[in-house]
Subunit: 149 residues, 4 copies
């Protein structure tokens, strides 16, 4: 994709990821961080299930949101942060298996607005992936000092 | 709204809610269940935060999804269950405060497809609400025996 | 809603509306322009139909988009213009009748990003309205000189 | 993709396309119909423009919706029809040029619900394509006799 403007993008994404309590709460692991792309994995656990024992749609949405947001952050200026403006997600198959893996990639990187797409796959015991959700997202990038939160 | 087809809708929603590990994980509480409407509350805790200490967008999305889905379930046939087909959420203000409250209401209840809208508000220490997200959702209802998951 | 920053908002919206060839193509009429709210009407004609003679979903989406965008523009700085970042629309009933009427209103007006919601109703021969679509949208406002298009 | 269930899918899509007044109104042309994929082109004309002379976002949304819907229809049972449940579209670049081309493809084809993704590209005078919008859609398929509209 584009050459990243921030040479430390991978370390900055990892530091931001590590500081999020909600990601610890669901046991999310940052698996890959490349320019314009980010992969997040969540292993199966009680805290991520719905009433049939599958991964909860809300968790799938959360991980999709995070994977897209950090994919966007890899292409931002040094010191800039990202906010999710909005996202939309379709659930296309039950998320059964030992883990889910969300991949976000940047479709269009403007300076202030970044559009991403995400796929979430469930991995079965043999490690075979089955896509369970697809999503599309708008991210706003802004300098950390304007990031009131 | 419409007269519910399932006289036990409130008990059925509560039982389904209680069986979801992911909702326990974020400390979600079912606050109100009425025909075509559902309110879910999440108190502040480390497991629901992002890196600035606000409520995490992924948690906000999860609670919005759940509030809309159970609002839909209140209008379903007895024994039917609900699946989220898709949702879309806009984040419009930082979610700071002592709790978030998601309200889902049914816009259109077909037999198989139900469309809902949701608002999520953050409550400050004085209990004042500020809307932090708005969402729109499509739910599929189906008999429990066809609910492969 | 908010006090408009542009005292000429109504004239500016009307001038922008009049300059759009696509709106002439579907016979769209600007019906109401108030701070944070805009109503657009499209009378029935062959050029707005789908294969069953109802209003075409694409036309419904177009009018929803326009009503939301101009609702947003009413709250912008003088001389600023609006761009649709994205929108999402659910079709909830067939759009049969003599006209459709789209109402857009602003949910949250930031300086650069504005979030709106829209309803589109179909009017029958007696003028009774039935909601046929609901939508949610993100608008970007920017000074005309930066509006490369 | 999947083997189509309807051997006449291409003729059926073409017949449905030809019967839509709104598509004639914008000069849309059905360019490609394959199992799980559909391409629709709209040449530049006054009836498809916004106020800066670019293709109108509403037209882009309409064409995206149509391309996704007919991509879905290629995988339906013979005699079944498609309805758009909802779609979401992001506009990522101004749509300037001699034509726009929308490509829809099926991500997941259930019997009743089909999820699609779409890209819309603008073609410049040399025929070079630039993606100007990306979208994601939910389609419902149903037998023609139940298609009240």
């Amino acid at each position: 994709m584009t050459k990243p403007r921030n040479p430390d993008f991978a370390a900055d994404v990892a530091a931001s990821f590590a500081s999020q309590g909600a990601l610890r709460g669901i046991g999310a692991v940052l698996e890959t961080v490349e320019p314009g792309r980010c992969v997040v994995r969540v292993p199966y656990a009680d805290a991520v299930t719905q009433h049939h024992g599958f991964f909860h749609g809300g968790v799938i949405g959360m991980v999709a949101d995070v994977a897209g947001g950090y994919a966007a952050m890899t292409l931002c200026e040094p010191g800039w942060q990202v906010l999710t403006v909005e996202y939309k997600i379709n659930f296309i198959a039950p998320a059964a298996g030992s883990a889910i893996v969300a991949t976000g990639h940047v479709v269009r990187a403007g300076r202030a607005l970044i559009v991403t797409r995400m796929e979430v796959a469930a991995l079965d015991a043999q490690g075979r992936a089955r896509v369970c959700a697809v999503a599309q997202q708008t991210i706003m990038a802004l300098p950390a000092e304007r990031f009131a939160g």
